[in-house]
């Protein structure tokens, strides 16, 4: 692996953010909203583990902790993409977004 990349790697989030997410996850308010939306209670332990691994990397440059953290975040990203889109994404924004109002705008998006 390229030594330069390894030297400049840092956790995807600040360690403090993991701790804040863990606390927020466990809060009554969040547990209530999760039940209200999904009918279940949230699993919060992963945030705590991520915080622990983040601190392990920061204090001891522990590569196992780094890999565990990366794996956890990649799983989170994959979970966010776990649906089949209904529409096709654009490569460029709509042509008429910035056009002045008094011009004829085509209906085609």
């Amino acid at each position: 692996m390229d030594g330069r990349i390894a030297a400049t790697w840092r956790p995807p989030r600040m360690c403090e953010d993991y701790l804040n997410e863990f606390r927020h996850c466990k809060s009554f308010s969040n547990r209530f909203h999760h039940y209200y939306a999904y009918g279940t209670f949230p699993a919060c332990h992963q945030w705590k583990e991520d915080y622990h691994n983040c601190r392990q990397w920061e204090t001891h440059s522990n590569t196992e902790a780094k890999e565990a953290l990366q794996k956890s975040e990649r799983t989170r990203v994959a979970e966010q993409k776990n649906f089949k889109p209904v529409w096709e994404l654009r490569r460029e924004p709509p042509r008429d977004w910035h056009m002045p109002l008094n011009q004829e705008n085509p209906r085609d998006s």
Binding site: H33, Y36, V86, E88, P93, P94, W97, L101
Partner: protein, 233 residues
């Protein structure tokens, strides 16, 4: 194409100021007889202070659709109890100045309509001909804007707990479609059901369902941090 029929088909009758030939009103008269200034003021506050709105504006900027308050928002009088709309033909968010009287409501309407604008910006959404696309954007807007929060539902006397959020999202998406398109309730329900799982799970650009302002602040923080995040995955 006959303009009247086109307007009826796409719900433009709810927004009478959008009809042709009704734009010119004396600004002085308008200031005295409408809620226009109050609407403009509340809009400014929403854009500057709501983490929901700030995140969406930032995401749109990064998608190539920089939002200009004067070009992309319009405070107008609307029919009935409609709070707002997104007009894809003119790339404008319409805010119903006669129906929005509280800042919290303005924040929510701005968020809801910006979600439509964001979808318009990042995807080929066929607003006028594809009901699945319309349903999807309505599901997302109801899901992510706070429309279906426990407090808002309770204030409508819709009391429910387990998974009620989803029931609310389905219901509001259905209502929104029926308000702007000539389609039967059964047909609209079928379309909402078809696209629900996909669209309910599409949380862009929030990365989560922002149930509260705190969630929205966390989402905004994550969005502003995304370069570092993706670079170190």
């Amino acid at each position: 194409m006959d303009q009247t029929k086109q307007d009826e088909d796409y719900g433009y009758e709810l927004f009478p100021e959008r009809h042709e030939g009704m734009h010119k009103k004396s600004p002085f008269k308008e200031a005295l007889t409408t809620f226009n200034h109050k609407c403009q003021f509340m809009l400014q506050v929403a854009m500057e202070t709501s983490p929901y709105a700030k995140l969406l504006l930032s995401a749109m900027n990064n998608s190539g659709c920089k939002v200009s308050k004067d070009r992309h928002f319009s405070c107008e009088d609307c029919d009935g109890s409609v709070s707002g709309g997104f007009d894809a033909a003119s790339s404008q968010v319409v805010l119903c100045q006669n129906n929005i009287h509280q800042q919290a409501h303005m924040n929510r309407v701005v968020t809801h309509e910006l979600i439509h604008a964001f979808d318009h910006c990042r995807a080929h959404v066929d607003w006028f001909n594809n009901f699945r696309h319309l349903a999807c954007s309505e599901i997302r807007a109801a899901n992510l804007s706070g429309d279906c929060s426990f407090t808002n539902e309770a204030s409508r006397f819709h009391l429910g707990l387990k998974e009620h959020h989803q029931e609310c999202v389905r219901g509001r998406a259905l209502r929104s479609i029926l308000a702007v398109r000539k389609i039967s309730r059964e047909e609209a329900q079928k379309i909402v059901d078809e696209v629900f799982d996909s669209c309910f799970n599409d949380h862009a650009p929030f990365g989560r369902i922002p149930h509260s302002k705190k969630d929205a602040k966390f989402a905004y923080r994550d969005y502003m941090n995304r370069s570092r995040y993706y670079a170190n995955l």
